[in-house]
Symmetry: C2
Subunit: 339 residues, 2 copies
């Protein structure tokens, strides 16, 4: 899933080139490229499918040339994750009626890639034999209020256990309680299932969307597909897969572990993954010069000479024709500042 906008990371992430297509960490690979790299142990290049916005199809082709062109699916508009996953699932079934699928956001970071590949492998083995939905949980390292949580029936790291319930973003006290309890895991938005399982669940719990997919199916892989999709996809209910299926289906398991996962959804979360100098400054850019600065994150994506003097605890981010200077403590307002 590579259709998001990443508005909290403005000006690095913009509607023209959102975060999944950007080398956020300055490592030479965009987040979607890092995501594909991470799945290499469990999936051949020609088995990847990308669902993205129409305007991003060329970016996907450029950044992921090994993925077959007809497996890059273009949403005419964003309708949240349920229609996105439905469209991919119906398409995949037409090519491979028994496909075992992992769904993942394209714009998150996983540091423990070996553990991650292990967990995904276990989940795939599980769904190959059972009619089940598996989610990936992340052992929380802090009482984070920005993520949804998965309440697991048992606390067995690296093992598949039943999900008791999904919980939305908690307040701080609740999040502290979750952390102490030990049965609550961050919901990374990663799902594993057989194509027939998810299609049956969508048909049961999101019949409006499933009906549109059934209507579209005859056009798949023909010249009629794009016009039909443009006509019908925007009429799909705009709903997340969590609301549509996860919170309703009884077949849900979780495999939870500390995977060094981050959604890289904010400047603060990016800062924690960048190397800092002895004054706590992190810099990505060709030529960033800091004088009397502490605890700053400086991110420049154009080729720039950047001189920053006398700042403590600031974001300085520059991208093409946009510039942000903002206290890290105020970053929740970036979306409104840049609107």
């Amino acid at each position: 899933m590579a259709g998001g906008i990443g508005s909290r990371l403005w000006p690095l992430s913009t509607p023209d080139v959102p975060k999944q297509f950007i080398d956020v960490l300055g490592v030479g690979r965009s987040l979607i490229q890092l995501t594909v790299d991470r799945f290499a142990p469990v999936c051949a290049p020609d088995h990847f499918w990308v669902v993205t916005g129409e305007k991003y199809v060329n970016l996907v082709r450029e950044q992921l040339p090994a993925i077959p062109a007809d497996q890059i699916l273009a949403e005419p508009e964003g309708r949240n994750t349920a229609p996105c996953i439905a469209y991919a699932s119906w398409k995949i079934r037409k090519k491979d009626p028994e496909a075992n699928i992992v769904v993942t956001p394209a714009d998150a970071l996983v540091l423990k890639t070996a553990e991650f590949a292990g967990a995904i492998g276990k989940a795939l083995a599980f769904t190959e034999e059972r009619d089940a939905i598996v989610t990936v949980g992340i052992t929380p390292s802090r009482p984070e209020t920005g993520y949804g949580y998965i309440h697991a029936s048992e606390a067995l790291p690296g093992q598949l256990v039943k999900v008791s319930e999904f919980r939305e973003k908690p307040d701080l006290d609740t999040a502290i309680g979750y952390l102490e309890d030990g049965h609550y895991f961050w919901n990374a938005g990663i799902f594993v299932w057989n194509v027939n399982t998810i299609i049956r669940e969508l048909s049961a719990y999101a019949p409006q969307i499933a009906g549109i997919m059934d209507q579209l199916e005859p056009s798949f892989f023909t010249s009629a597909e794009t016009p039909e999709l443009r006509r019908l996809f925007p009429t799909c209910d705009k709903i997340s897969i969590d609301y549509a299926v996860m919170e309703k289906s009884p077949y849900i398991y979780v495999i939870a572990e500390d995977l060094g996962w981050s959604d890289l959804g904010s400047w603060g979360s990016i800062q924690t993954h960048l190397k800092a100098d002895e004054d706590g400054n992190s810099a990505v850019g060709q030529d960033v010069r800091l004088f009397d600065c502490q605890n700053c994150i400086v991110h420049t994506s154009s080729e720039k000479t950047v001189v920053v003097e006398g700042l403590d605890g600031y974001i300085v981010a520059e991208s093409k024709d946009r510039l942000l200077i903002c206290r890290l403590s105020q970053e929740q307002h970036i979306k409104e500042y840049s609107a």
Copy 2:
């Protein structure tokens, strides 16, 4: 004279496009265009001469299309103001052996343009009749330590009086003394003289430079001029007109007045000439958005959306592939930061 670099105004002013070619104040005209505008009452467009670096000739042509191409003189390298003025003077004499000349930097600001034109008119009338050098003094408004001073024999605003002596940049106590004394004026680097006067003075006090100009003269306005100039100009003594002539000649007068003059040589001086909002912020740019900022100067010359949050007393300046964020109180270090 349009050969300077303006290194204290980095990144607005750079060696590629120095400050005289930039719309520093966001008024739609570069400083050299404003300079030419200011002299319109006393000088026809085809009587302007510009001395600049070879790499800036095209910028001058673009910005000042009314100036004849052969009156845009290209220095092969900067050798300070004495060779610059000598070259222009020798060239002008060849076209107009009795020329009355005003020499001015291209990158300063004058707000009281009517008073300025009046003072220049008086000075030109004076040098038309007398073999004299006239300088323009600026009534100081503060004990500025960044300028040289002219010590006038009398304090008669708007009238021509003899210069007692030139003084270099003073320390603060001395500058305060000058301000109280009333006979000391800022040296704006503007000179008025007849072409024969300055050539005679240069021949007397800077014979090395004058000798080279005599050697160059036969080539003027021929195809031999550029190669000869490239060969000989770089051998001129690197010396200012102040050291070479002003401090030695006995024929020097000053006309001093409050002309609303500024050399716009620093971000602080630019800030004083920009409109400020109620929080003391000045902004030049297409789309500058300030949140919880005070006493800042924000200057963007590319088309940019700029968001600045939580700064007090800072310079934020962006130009093409360069960015500066620096406390105004530290601006004297910009030259080293950007080096």
